[in-house]
Assembly symmetry: C2
Homo-oligomer: 483 residues x 2
């Protein structure tokens, strides 16, 4: 049974005051214990996560690799240490009219974080996913709300974290595993000790948490990664050369993991000269894709009701209809629409979670400019073109930048790289905070805030800010980067 | 007459698409034109701002210097260029199982910003104050809502910005001066083209804008710097040595600018052994302070009604009562309370805008720990102690860090340094976003969001991200800082 939420948060708060002060070495060691622990249980974890999520073991194996890699990335990041943005302005007692004080600033963890697990990534966006590990790396305790779609997987991973805490002599309050439904999730977000929320999931879920968090007596930030249809815009010349391979890689991305990725490319814009040929190619590729089980029955049900809804719409011509409705397996589908019709109704921008897309046929580049203006905020936008034709579409590229967090010029949006430069977060409604990312090294910045120390004695300064720079980190000193 | 808000925002949006793309050289040049323009009109501007704000010309002269200095700081900052956090992860086509793409990320301006002027800084937090200039430096157009307390000053400064735009051949939509009251301000925040809001002022005002912005169809961030009582905690040993000079500098800070600073120290904690002596010294200092005109009648009225309210409270002993109520001038006041009573009622943490403070008498360090736990979020907290006694209060210092954006060990919180290391922003309710600052170089980060480019051809990459690093900025390349 869950402890009461008050108890959980009070323990987290006590643990926080201790955890924020331990050395980065010790924090990194704790994270690496988790990585080792995950590797140690992989023979149990992979089949379990696979059976609870309906995702094939191959996919889960890859996801585990990514998850462990992420944990090590953050261990390395905090050990390197420059992420705290240490900034030092030296005093000038002689300055007139007033002496200049010594001011030093760095990032400090914000406090206990509520993290929600995602159903579509039982490992990489769940118990020790990117949200949890970036919060722990920042120095924040995590209260983790398990996703009910994979409870056993979550419990198993939680045990790894709890054991890593024991091995590292750290208080258990640094990580708490909580189970429950929507009401419990809402209670967590409302708790006065919570300082921020991280969420990956549906628009409805993310927006509800955002509203609760903004309406608290003390509003707190919600980093919700919600919905995105990840448009791909294709230009003529590249299609001339690579039509077949582009159609192949498009279908592969659309149907990967039964289309259950936040970067699933749900819109593809095709110039009318290539409409027929591309449709043919995509159709024949789609016919090769076997139906695949979705994460759970609820998701399959939503997928088929969305398709039913769109099948009533007269604007659409179906290149591939999904076969008969299945209680759990999804079958890919593709509907064609003119960009003129598409522009008239934003319903055609709605995310359909699963292997479904709109193929939008456009007449000319002017129509694309209008599309770029009307597009809602996205995690990713891809623009496929030859270098020359990209050069001829600079205004389009400029407009598209306003609508996404990542702009791709080759390849497909699925398969999000975990690295320093990754940005996985875009303008609303793709996330609730376009200034943040939930994948990659910068994800840590969500859980820290700046604090400045004025005229603090050297003996009291955090190591990141003391004159001798014992951590050997990059710092900005009197306006210049130095190590 | 104001143009319609639709027209204003549409012009700003068009200007944005152009302005975001011009070179940093050109942006910096535009900012420097503003600085020169301000200096050119100083003989008119200083007496005008002084007469509209009731602030003495000496103070306005200093404020103008700070304002011009800020404009040049941001011009230098964007010319140096490293603030965009350029991050490059090179491709690895040989990687298995999947080739690694080339990903490059930097900060990009978020779009048109609504800035609200503050009454207490007719220059430094107004028309071309820190909010406007950091937004312009980031590459965002500004829709500026003038504070009705100093309309002529605001118009004069707006003219300088408009002329700088003309001289720099930039569209006027980059800066729009809007006048009006609360309804107009709310309309601006509601406008769908607005991407963020910056505000300095009362808690009621800031919170109302935050609520409106969170409840929009597309929620947008509000950077509101609202209320703070900036506690000063004094420890025994330093008082033993420096009682007299500390009392002097305390009173000077409390009554500076008639107490109308967001960093005004409205709470001072004194150990009971020094209670009488400190009270005597402060009282005699306060008696030397002449009453001073407040910004406007409304503020003077609020000041006296707050004092009237507190004069009814039996827990308080008045060391200095303000003299007779004045329609415009404030007279300093100080009330004493035991920390036991202070802890019981958070009303004693309420900001009284003006030269009023609570002197809170504490028994021992345990009481201070409780105080630190109960304190609301603050822009600043000061702790005055000898190095030895600070060392004995590490837990207290750790707790205080959770409650502020800047922690001072010497000096007074008023007189906020404008520099790289400054943090002017703290936990709620002092601001609505503790992860941001409204003073200093980092203020620019509020108005930018990351965007990543995947496999973008070199010829299309922004200069900050191209291989040759033509801007010569610091970048993180494959996880290492480089120039």
């Amino acid at each position: 049974m869950n402890k009461t939420f008050d108890t959980i948060f009070e323990q987290a708060q006590r643990a926080f005051l201790m955890y924020k002060s331990i050395s980065v070495k010790k924090k990194a060691q704790f994270l690496r214990e988790i990585a080792i622990g995950l590797e140690n249980i992989k023979d149990n974890l992979i089949p379990l996560a696979s059976s609870e999520s309906n995702l094939p073991e191959g996919r889960i194996t890859g996801e585990l690799g990514r998850t462990v890699g992420q944990v090590r990335l953050f261990a390395n990041l905090i050990e390197e240490g420059s992420w705290v943005e240490a900034t030092i302005d030296h005093a000038d007692p002689e300055r007139s009219p007033a002496p200049k004080p010594d001011i030093r600033r760095h990032l400090t963890p914000i406090g206990p974080i509520v993290v929600f697990g995602a159903s579509n990534f039982p490992l990489a966006f769940s118990t020790i996913g990117g949200d949890t590990v970036s919060a722990l790396a920042a120095g924040c305790p995590v209260i983790y709300k398990a996703h009910p779609a994979h409870p056993e997987t979550s419990r198993l991973v939680a045990k790894v974290i709890e054991e890593a805490l024991s091995k590292s002599d750290l208080p258990q309050g640094i990580f708490t595993h909580v189970e429950g439904g929507i009401p419990e999730g809402q209670e967590l977000v409302k708790h006065p000790i919570a300082k921020a929320v991280a969420f990956t999931g549906s628009h409805v879920g993310g927006k509800a948490l955002f509203d609760i968090a903004s309406q608290r007596e003390e509003p707190i930030p919600v980093f919700a990664e919600m919905s995105s249809v990840n448009p791909i815009i294709t230009l003529k010349n590249i299609l001339k050369r690579e039509l077949e391979s582009l159609a192949k890689s498009y279908v592969a991305s659309l149907t990967l993991g039964a289309g259950q990725f936040c970067t699933n490319p749900g819109l593809i814009f095709i110039p009318e000269t290539f409409e027929k040929e591309f449709a043919e190619l995509v159709k024949s590729e789609l016919n090769e894709v076997a139906s695949a089980p979705m994460l759970h029955e609820g998701i399959a049900k939503s997928y088929y009701s969305a398709l039913e809804y769109f099948q009533e719409r007269p604007e659409l011509e179906w290149i591939k209809v999904s076969g008969k409705k299945d209680m759990i397996k999804s079958q890919p589908a593709l509907a064609k629409i003119s960009s003129e019709d598409w522009l008239k109704d934003s319903t055609f921008q709605q995310e359909v979670f699963g292997p479904f897309a709109f193929m939008i046929v456009y007449k000319d580049e002017n129509e694309l400019l209008e599309v770029a203006t009307k597009l809602k905020g996205q995690l990713t936008i891809s623009i496929w073109g030859d270098e020359n034709e990209l050069q001829e579409n600079l205004i389009l590229i400029s407009l598209l930048q306003e609508k996404c967090g990542r702009l791709l010029f080759k390849g497909v949006p699925t398969g999000v790289e975990v690295g320093h430069a990754m940005q996985h977060g875009g303008p609303y409604p793709s996330t609730t905070d376009s200034r943040s990312t939930s994948v990659g090294a910068y994800a840590i910045k969500r859980f820290a805030r700046p604090i400045a120390f004025q005229d603090m004695p050297q003996s009291l300064l955090p190591e990141a800010l003391s004159d001798s720079n014992p951590l050997g980190i990059w710092r900005m000193v009197n306006g210049e980067f130095k190590k």
